[in-house]
Amino acid sequence: MYDICIVGSGAGGAPVAYELSRAGYKVVVLEKGEYYTEEDFNKDELAVCRRDMFTPPLWEQKHIINEYEEGEYKRYDGAEYNWNFWNGSLVGGSSNLMSGYFHRMKPQDFRLLSTYGEIKGANVVDWPIVYDDLEPYYDKVEKVIGVSGRVVDHKFQESRSSKDFPYPELKTNGATKWFDKACEELGFRSIPTPRAILSQNSLDREGCYYSNFCGSYGCASGAKGSARAALLQKCNAQVITDAFVYRLESDGTKVTKLYYKTKHNIPHIVKAKIFVLAAQAIETSRLLLNSKDEYFPNGLANTNKQVGKNLIFSAGGVGSGRFVFEKLSKSQQKELMEVGVFFNRSLQDWYEYKEEKQHFKGGTIDFLFEHQNIIPRVNEEIYNDKGELTWGKELMKRIEKRVTTSRVLTFEVFNDWLPTDKCFVSVDKKEKDKYGVPVGVINLYGHKQDLQVGEFLAKKAVKVLDKMGAVEIDYSISSSPPPNLVAGGCRFGDDPNTSVLDKNCKTHELENLYVTDASFMPTGGSVPYTWTIYANSFRVADIIKEELKNETDISS
């Protein structure tokens, strides 16, 4: 019998494993994928990005996607349409593969309903905790996971208990100066983007070696603050790999058993005092919905039918502009093409804004160079500017010129994906995965305000690119969900009728079941989620520690 059994080894699960095992409790972590370490990671574009070595093949494990369009859902089979919602099945989860753009949520993100009021068609609520409850844990993440950056004053800078980041900002490309100058001329505030990457050796990990291939790849130095490098490799929690958890069983008040299978379909049972789910938002809801028993015929902790509801992503989109040698001096050309170092700039001037007398919650814009992967950069030239397929010498010439004499700066817009009744997780009645378990169904819908806010922010980013002298400036704001920025499905709240978890992220209905991945988030803020997931998981770890301590005190 374990004290704690955790499902999933990523940013949601690992802080609990780290804290509880270091406090002397017997902890087991179940991970579907394999255990890779710094020694195993390399920059093999073919394996990592073309053959998706860290996610399951869709013909073995897929999702069904129902996209809401014009009054009805259109069904897509994920395998058939190559629509992939997996983010990383390996120890440490997708935190191994993240870019580590780390922003805290801001106080108003915890109070969306009270600050901005109701929005028609959206289930906007306040969180049951406030920013100040999470601030000490954001601070802890900076120190334990390792966040580098430089705090600058700006009108939406959230309060901080530490004056600055514990690690200085990473080295940046010379073109960053062009950005800062353009922002100054436009009256915008350029912010160095905080990163979950060590800029120097620390925490028994090596600092960044500027490999030029960060996002999508595992880090070979340990500089990136993955849940594995920063936490699991530093504690004695037992990690069992090749363990796909497919069912939990209860006695009506507690989870009593957990069932998992290996890739060869060998079943296993785990018993523990406390169970923690952190399999990423969609899979956590799927597991609960698939865990039906006589006490919970709708699935575990789902008497109120709230499990899977209010699934959210990060709304917004992407855009880009190209810098071409023809418009640059020799020294600027050299600066532009310097590889390895980061761009690392963000804008948060419009975290909230007014338009036509209406007060809107806005968001964040991160700027970064186009990913250095060479194959997609070359493939995108196969079509000419008229949209025609090209080949032969004409194509060779174009590729050579574009790749060697220009570089693309991209931006990503993050704003709220408003929670609605139409966006939720369910399980399919027919389709099963290779383990014989019903697959998750992702029912997708984006609220029209998400697009309106995204457009507003993208136009600001375009102004910067234009001022900097970029050409071919373009952007796309849409309701298409970024699979790596997913949350909700088990929202926390004070009312057991409208939420799955209480404010401690424990299920209202089962006294030993917690959820610590992004499922708990009723709204997502306008930043990438990982920092908040880490922080909240450290918060819940403290709560569980206290609970186990009280239990020990009582029994002794």
């Binding site: 574009e45 394996a47 070595m53 030029n212 493939n379 397929l389 032969g392 060779m396 790749v403 060697t404």
Partner: protein
Amino acid sequence: MNNSRRKFLQYGFLSSSVFLFDGCNLFGITTPYATIKVLQNDLVPQAELLDINTIGYMHLVFKHTRISRENKDFLKNGVKWLNEESIQTYNKTYIKLTQYQRENLLKVVAKTSWGESFLYDIMSYTFEAMLGDPIYGGNNKQAGWKWLEFQGGLPHPKKVYV
């Protein structure tokens, strides 16, 4: 059996027979190997200039466990359809056409839905051969990377992922 014959047979799927029909009659037999080799050079001539072993890489593509059966079948069907289009237009298989005829045929085929996808896929795999890590055997002494002044990331893989 001589070495080249043995090497050819090692290509497995690439060396398998593709039956070509002229309308409803059997016209002849070809292999994906023969057609793809010529086609790659027509589409991505830089590969030959850089001495990139693009056809050897296609062997990896056909045996890769992470490339679906449907995608592999599509490549094989593409070879068949390209040749059948060639037979219907010129009464010859693709590899027997002159360069001018092949170019004209590609222009026609690129306007069809299957043809556009097929040519894109062949080009995409050829660029994988040229620009993937040299450990995969295509990117000869990093010639593809040097062509585009590209620095591959470190560390390099120690083994191929198939």
